[in-house]
Symmetry: D2
Subunit: 235 residues, 4 copies
C-alpha cells in the first residue's frame, strides 16, 4: 500500500520540548513504523510547495495520514478540495489528534469539529468499544497513556459510522473516538491521541492502531458508482 | 400517557439497607414522579399473578419501565414473549440499570447483554453525547452521581440507534448509555444508573431523564406495517 | 414555530410550464400549508437582498425549508456559512429535491451529494422504512406519485442517521430518502420529491411529510454544549 | 477459512421442481463455489443428528451459512442457542433468503423478522448502497435477477449496522438488504435472494457476494472482552 504521512511540522522546528520527543518530526516517526509494515511510505509537510501534496503525490497515495495543529489556516483551500475529492474517490484518510480542526477534516465532516480540551497531563484510557473491528486487532481491552492532553465531549462531529474506542480521562471527561466515517468510496478514521509534547506516537499500541487503521482504510476494490444523467438499463 | 412501572421488588423486602432508601420499593418512587407529570401510572411487581402484567394491564400500557436484578430467571417466558410482542407493536420500554440482564431486554437485543461491574462507590458522570435528543432536555452537559455501582465496557449489546449518554467512572471505566434501540414500531431506552443501595432515583436529574424517556418512548401515531403475503397494489 | 421557506424562484418566473403548476412559486405553496398548521411562516428567495436571509430573518427562524435547482452557484458563500452555523446551533433544516446539490446541503454533508437522475415521468413510490418515525405520522405504508423525476443510487451522502423512506421508481431504480442527519444541535431532513414541473407539493401526503418534518426538526430544548478550553469541574 | 453450509434440505427431496434446479441440494452448490475459493467447507442438514451441528462441527466453523424455509420450527432450541453463543464469540453468520424466519436469525435479532412476500416471478435488482463495502467487490452497480420471489418492506429487523444492497422489484416494492449486523464479536450478513425454485445460487454475481461475505464475516483477530466482576486496573 502507498501511504503519505502529512505533518504540519512547525512545533518540532519551533519548540525544543517537542523536538526532544520528535527530533525529525512526528511524520518521520509515523512513516518509519508504517514502512516496517512493508508499505511504500512518503511524507509531506506544510512548508513544501503545494504542502507536498501535488497531484503526482496524491496519485500515488492510497491512504493519507494527517497531523496538524497550529497552522490549519495556512493550508490552501485548493489543496483541501483536492484531498476531499480524492477521499470521495476512495483514498483512505487517518486524522490524528488536533487535526480534528484541520480544514480537510472539517470540510469532510460539515460540522465545527469543536470539543473541550485541557493540557494538564491527564491519564487517558482508550477503551475498545467495538471488539469486531480490524482497527483493534492486537490491542488489549484498553490502551493506557500515562499523560495526554484531555479532549472532552461534546465533540461536534456527525454521527460516526462506528465507535471503535471510547476514551476516559482521569480529570473526569469522556470522548468518542476513534470514530469511523464512510464518505463516498473513501473511509476516514479519526484517532484522538498524539499531543506533540508527549511520546504518544512512540507507544507500541498507538502504533498498532495506526497500522491497523491504514490497512482498514485502503481504497475498496469496488466499482466506481455511476452518477449524473441516466437513461437506465431498461427492463 | 399510560405508564406501567415494573419492579422485581425483592431487595426492598429482604434488605434493610435497600428498604432505607426505597421504603415502598423503587417502583413507587418512579411511579410517583411520573404521576406528577400527569401520566396515568400503574405499578406491577414480580410476585403478583402474571407478575402483574396481565393482558388487561398491558392493554393499557403505552410505556413500560423495568427494574430487576436478582430474580430475572423467575420471570415466566410467556410474559417475556408478551412484552416483546407489545414492544414490536409500539409499546415503549425503559430498561433501568441491572435490567440489562432481564429476560425482556436480552430477548429484544439478541445478545448476552453482559458487562463489567464493581460495587465500590465509584463516582459516575453521565456525559451528554447527543445534544439534539429530547431525552436530555433540561439536563446540563453531565449528571454527576457521587456514588454508584460501576458498569464498564465492553457492553454486549447490538449497535445502538443513538448514544444519548456516555458514562465516566472514577475508577477508570467508561460505559455506553443511555442507548436507544428501535424494534418494530417500538422504542427502547436503556439507562444505566440505579443500584438499589444508592438514592439514585431520588436524584432530580435522573428523574428528569426518565420522564423525558417515557415521553420519547410513546407509541408512534404511524400506520402498522402490512406484512405477509402481498399481491401488491399493481401499477 | 417560526418557519422560513426559501426558494430559488427562477423556474417559476422563466418557464410557463412551471408557472402553471406553481403560479406564485413553490415557496408560496409550501408556506401556505405550513401556515395552516399554525406556524409563523415567512418566505425568502434568491433574488432578494442577502437572498432574503438577513440575520434578522435567521434570528426568527426555527426551521428553514430549502428548494433550489438551477442557480445553486449564485448563493453567496457568506450566507451558506451563516446557515451552516445556525444549523449547528439548533435550527432545523428541510432540504427538498434538487436542493441535494445546494451549497448549504453540500457544506453540511461534506460529500458531493451527486446521484443519478432522469426526467421521464417515472412513477415513484416512497416506502416507509421506519414505522417508528414521527415524520411518517398519518402516512400509509407508501406514497405514490404518478409522475416524478427519477433519482437513483448511488447517492453520495454520509451514512444517514435514519432512513425514513426508501423510494422505488418504475424505471428500475431505488433511492434512499428521506434521510435524517444530526449535525451539532441541529436536525436535517432530506426529502426527495418535488420536481418543478409536477404538482408534487400539492399532494396531501407530501404536504403531510413536510409538516411532520418541520415539527420534528424543531430546535431542541437542550443545553448548548460547552466547548473550548476546559479546566474541568474537579472531582 | 473453515466454512459450514447448513441447509434445511427438504424442498430438494420433496419437490421435483426444486430438485431440477438443485439436484444435490442448495448446500452442495454453495459449498462447491466456496471450496473453489480455497476454503475448508463442510455441509450440515436438518435431518442429521443435532442437525449436523455438533460441538465438534461448530468447533471447526469460522463462518456458518444458513438456508431454511419450511421447517424452521424443527430446529432444536438447544442448537439455536449454541449457534447464537458461537456468533457472540466471533463466528460469522451468513443468513440467506427465507432464513430471515429461522430461529437462529430471529433469536439474534430480537424482532419478528417478518416482511411482505409474493411468488410471482418479479424481476429483482439489487442496487449497491455502500460502494466502500468489501461485500460488493467485483459487483457492478446492481445485480439483476430475471425472476425471484418478492420480499418487501417493512422488514421487521433492528436498524442494520450497514446497508450494503437495496433491492427493487418490478412489481413495485423495495427491500433493505443485504444488511450487516454486529453482535458480540461476531458479524452477520443477511442476503435476500435465493428462492428454491429459481437458479439464483448458480448466478455468478450472487456467488461472488456470498464469497465476499464469507471473507468479511471471518472471526476477528481481536481480544475477547473481559466481562463480569472487575476490580479494575487501578490508576
Amino acid at each position: 500500500m502507498r501511504v503519505t504521512v502529512w505533518n504540519e511540522f512547525r512545533h518540532e522546528q519551533e519548540e525544543a520540548a517537542v523536538r526532544d520527543v520528535y527530533p525529525d518530526g512526528i511524520h518521520m516517526v509515523i512513516a518509519d513504523f508504517l514502512k516496517k509494515e512493508g508499505h511504500d511510505v512518503q511524507t509531506a509537510v506544510l512548508d513544501e510547495a503545494e504542502h507536498g501534496l501535488s497531484d503526482a503525490v496524491l496519485d500515488r497515495t492510497d491512504v493519507l495520514v494527517w497531523w496538524g495543529h497550529k497552522a490549519h489556516e495556512e493550508v490552501e483551500d485548493e489543496i483541501v478540495e483536492k484531498v476531499q475529492a480524492r477521499v470521495l474517490k476512495g483514498m483512505g484518510l487517518i486524522v490524528l489528534h488536533s487535526a480534528h480542526f484541520s480544514k480537510v477534516f472539517k470540510k469532510l465532516m460539515g460540522t465545527s469539529c469543536d470539543l473541550k480540551w485541557r493540557e494538564a497531563g491527564d491519564t487517558e484510557r482508550l477503551w475498545v468499544a467495538d471488539p469486531t473491528h480490524p482497527i483493534v486487532e492486537g490491542i488489549d481491552e484498553y490502551i493506557e497513556l500515562e499523560q495526554e492532553e484531555m479532549y472532552g465531549e461534546h465533540f461536534d462531529i456527525p454521527t460516526p459510522d462506528e465507535h471503535v474506542f471510547i476514551r476516559w480521562f482521569s480529570g473526569g471527561e469522556v470522548f468518542r473516538s476513534g470514530a469511523t466515517f464512510k464518505r463516498g468510496r473513501g473511509k476516514i478514521f479519526y484517532f484522538r491521541p498524539g499531543h506533540e509534547t508527549y511520546p504518544t506516537y512512540h507507544n507500541q499500541s498507538v502504533q498498532r492502531v495506526i497500522k491497523n487503521a491504514v490497512k482498514w482504510a485502503a481504497p475498496p476494490n469496488t466499482s466506481e458508482p455511476v452518477r449524473g444523467h441516466y437513461s437506465g438499463p431498461g427492463l
